[in-house]
């Protein structure tokens, strides 16, 4: 090693981090513990503090397939009701109908259209669960698996 080669600085007692000391805690009768849970730091300060990531292609699909108002509203509802991180929506068709103030059979037909296009995937029959392929809540690191699976292709000529 040359004379001017860089050497690692020798740690001084002031810069060495102290090892955390673990001490068992025993509670006696009448003792009280106060736990203050730390709130996660907010990464965004927009209205409501929540945002949704939508793939840009969804907007062209909405235009090319000429989705109606109620189909768009169902998409918005599913996007807002999806679980954080997984993208899964667990709602019955009755709940959707009550939320959108339309009939349940209309919800069934509209969901069928969206399923035919490929925007919505029905995971389970009976208790309806959906995975929205083009939208996710939260930050980019929390993209659900469905987002990766959404690199599929859609056919504008199905209709």
């Amino acid at each position: 090693m040359g004379r001017h080669a860089r050497r690692a600085p020798t740690p001084t007692p002031d810069t060495v981090a102290e090892a955390p000391q673990v001490q068992p805690l025993r509670l006696g009768r009448g003792d009280q513990i106060v736990v203050q849970r730390r709130q996660p730091p907010a990464k965004y300060d927009f209205v409501g503090g929540a945002f949704q990531q939508v793939t840009r292609s969804l907007f062209t699909i909405v235009k090319n397939f000429e989705l109606g108002r109620r189909e768009i509203l169902i998409l918005l509802l599913l996007g807002l009701e999806q679980e954080h991180g997984t993208g899964r929506v667990t709602m019955t068709q009755k709940e959707m109908a009550e939320e959108l103030e339309i009939h349940r059979t209309d919800v069934s037909n509209l969901l069928g259209n969206l399923r035919e296009i490929g925007l919505v995937i029905q995971v389970k029959r009976g208790y309806t669960s959906f995975i929205l392929a083009c939208s996710s809540l939260g930050a980019a690191t929390n993209r659900p698996r469905s987002w990766r699976r959404s690199r599929w292709m859609y056919r504008p000529s199905i209709r």
Partner: protein, 146 residues
Amino acid sequence: MEPNEVLLDDVVVNTNSVVLGHIASLDLSGVELRILFWLMFRMDSNGIARVSREEIASAFGVGDTYVSKVTTKLKNHGLAWREDHKRIRVNPHFAGRGSHEEWQRTADELPADAPQILIQPELLAAAQPKPPKATGQGRRHLRVVQ
């Protein structure tokens, strides 16, 4: 890939969840919603969609007058407004394209007299972060201290 198939791109548009819920409660028709979404598709990282009125009219098969009515309606709701003849700005408090920093910067640079989105108080209240669930309620030796 067949010629009639289009691969979904990875371009992400960030949208405000509260405003999305607010849009569902507005009296926007299907065409108006599609025009709004199309503007979001066309906007750049500064939130500007470079489309003229005639271009929107030909894309949706409607008249120029109808497009003017739609843009006026969107402006009244604070969602998007016309900057000049060929530029329409989508409200950055509603949607932004690109990174989070770009979205934040675009929102910060918005003038104070820009149209604003008026959201119902109940939607805002529902969007507030919920406090963490109380733990240790069922334990005998751990009780919540006021």
